[in-house]
Symmetry: C2
Subunit: 425 residues, 2 copies
């Protein structure tokens, strides 16, 4: 991947993780990810290094834009020994795209066309993919390696990739690869060292040879990825069973589903409303992240000040006075208020101290009080917790949403009465 | 940086961007970022490649944990020809940290200690940094290059880095570097190709030689970074002036400040409340991202359903009926409702269609209606807009928050009466 802006930390690379997953799905083993600046020599050095490492496929992203610092096509053409030639059909196609674009932004189409003509230059014998934005991706066969050149904007990269994998040079480059399978487990509520201990026990009891296991802490959860060739299926299963046996209550996903997917499924046919304070909207944002969430998410209040708690959710001012804004009592009142104001059967209340300021001896930074509630008429269930979450302001805010999702899972798994809905689904 | 979990796309690499910024601040030119898997041979290949490229400094992150796939210290010790030896003082120190940790999680300290003993193994002659988590960072002199080995968790990495740069081998490795300066400009509301056109004009009018310019689209804004040696200061200034002259209304930051910083500054001494729909909490989350935001952010409503708009913010049901939930009228009613319910002098209303479903011919996916309002008694000002934002659901949600911040900037710059506050600040 190229781009001084990536290297210098100005933008975050969203493409590498996406491409990594795509490669894994195709059973292609990823050997290296190299980020380099926009200087031609840096990109060339990276290509030479990867060729020397004997890889079959190199995927580049970025450096195809209209500005002078976008040089990927030129460098790859030299690397492959395939001079750039103007592809006139492509030039015509880009001109049409640009004309539409110019009308939208009310720009001079001629000036734009000049800025974009270089995007119609294609290494001879290479395949130009259909442009998604204005920059066409390329599939460029070189000595012992095929270079797939993709535009940097994620949507353009993803659509170009879908085209690239259907080309003949791509198919030839990845022929004869080993097919891998992958199991992904997710756990919550234990430290990573306990998994390390379990893996050492597994090494003794079931052997791990032939399994590539990686563990990783993410957003307060532990992910265990097990990658293996098909003939190791049984051994992988034995490991999964051992982990399930030793960490029954922590293991919430044996099939790779995320807590967000599980909670979305559990909320189907129900109605949820929330009142959140220290997460400042992140909990609502996470609950509405998925398309279709309006089926169950009715609304929320970001009750940042005491006034918002009282005015918007009817939390009694004297309750705040008596127990403090950060208390289990106020968390429950926030949940109750959200449920009653918006007439839902699931409610969440959350209040805490995200920091860095505002902590006291008895209520330190990181303290968060949670209440999740489910009600059907007289039948009410709830989970109420206070936790001290570690890390920075951003960590505390993010971690609190993860904890809430796990409390919702616990609540809705145990308290699962559903509305009788008239439409069959 | 190491870690199959980074390579395989399971976790996003947050450390590279941070380290890149730190290196830039120290005037160290970053040549390559290499991500490799947890296999020792891959890390070794990367170290050999970088040594071959003639770099003075290699920084690794990750691979210092307690699990068996954490092998960085071992590989670096072999690379540097410095065998691992047990550092007893360090072992003692880690044991103390682990004991605290074990009490917190209620774990068997002995089992934990065994899992972590390998973290006290240090390459002979290398400097072990004080452990931040349980894994100590290392500064390891090797042939022609110094390797700084940092733990993967961002907080541990950042604190270890602060220690590493004060060590003697580090100072020696970076001696004699060129000092660079950097200017960062930010623009909003024009396409990247217009900046490309301006840079071509600048090349003719003021010459760009000696300036390293990168442009980058991020969250709907264009960032222009200009990096140069001190003697090019005048030329850099001339370029900044030319960009300011050609893009006066789009250029909102000449000093690198972000729109978030500017809006936080403009909101000082004021009180803001919001009613947001399609952003689902992201706008409130962005407004409360910064410490101290509770000084001006009073509260918000995530008015996802019509019921929430009516019940929590008093939007008249017949207004929704007449104009539709996505309309400028409803956006204004959301702002008015938030302001009056929470008694603030600044209000925001936002309603739109994030997609992928829910679009119609007249109101397509991506349409978002905005209202920002400022009031002091009879003196009221507002900005109302409807925009069609491109991209995916996540793009539309994120972009809508950026647009809102720019509308707030516009409003609060032009309509700046402030409450008379009794405390001097």
């Amino acid at each position: 991947m190229t781009g001084t802006e990536v290297l210098s930390g100005i933008i975050r690379d969203r493409n590498s993780p996406w491409l990594s997953e795509q490669l894994a799905d195709l059973g292609i083993e990823l050997a290296h990810v190299v980020t380099c600046g926009d200087r031609p020599a840096d990109l060339r050095a990276a290509l030479d290094f990867l060729q020397g490492e004997g890889v079959d496929l190199v995927v580049t992203s970025g450096g195809l834009g209209p500005t002078a610092d976008d040089l990927t096509a030129e460098v790859v053409s030299e690397f492959a020994g395939r001079p750039l030639v103007l592809d006139e059909a492509l030039e015509h196609r880009i001109a049409e795209i640009i004309a539409r674009f110019a009308r939208r932004w009310r720009l001079d189409p001629e000036a734009l066309r000049a800025a974009n003509r270089k995007q119609a230059m294609v290494p001879s014998g290479a395949i130009a993919l259909a442009p998604v934005g204005t920059a066409p991706g390329l599939v460029v066969p070189a000595s012992g390696v095929v270079v797939v050149v993709l535009p940097g904007p994620p949507r353009e990269l993803q659509e170009s990739w879908a085209q690239a994998i259907r080309t003949k040079p791509f198919a030839e480059a990845i022929a004869g690869r080993t097919e891998y399978r992958r199991r992904m487990l997710r756990l919550f509520g234990i430290p990573e060292s306990e998994i390390a201990e379990t893996l050492r026990a597994a090494e003794r009891e079931v052997s791990l040879s032939g399994l590539e296991i990686t563990t990783c802490l993410r957003r307060g959860e532990i992910e265990v990825s097990i990658r293996y060739e098909p003939e190791r299926e049984e051994r992988a299963e034995a490991l999964v069973d051992l982990i399930a046996q030793r960490h029954e209550s922590a293991l919430f996903s044996r099939d790779g589903t995320t807590i967000d997917e599980q909670v979305a499924e559990l909320l189907r046919g129900r109605r949820v409303a929330i009142g959140e304070s220290c997460t400042g909207g992140l909990l609502a944002a996470r609950l509405t992240d998925r398309p279709g969430s309006s089926d169950y998410f009715v609304g929320g209040v970001v009750a940042y000040s005491d006034a918002a708690k009282v005015e918007l959710l009817g939390v009694p001012a004297e309750l705040i006075e008596r127990h403090g804004a950060v208390s289990e009592e106020v968390a429950e009142a926030l949940a109750d208020g959200a449920m009653s104001r918006l007439e839902t059967d699931v409610g969440v209340g959350l209040t805490g101290i995200a920091g860095p300021g505002g902590g006291t001896e008895s209520k330190p930074v990181g303290l968060v009080c949670f209440c999740v509630k489910s009600a059907f008429g007289e039948d009410v269930a709830s989970q109420i917790r206070s936790l001290e979450l570690p890390g920075s302001r951003a960590d505390v805010r993010d971690r609190a949403t993860t904890v809430t999702f796990h409390l919702l899972r616990l609540l809705l798994t145990e308290h699962a009465p559903r509305r009788v809905v008239s439409d069959a689904r």
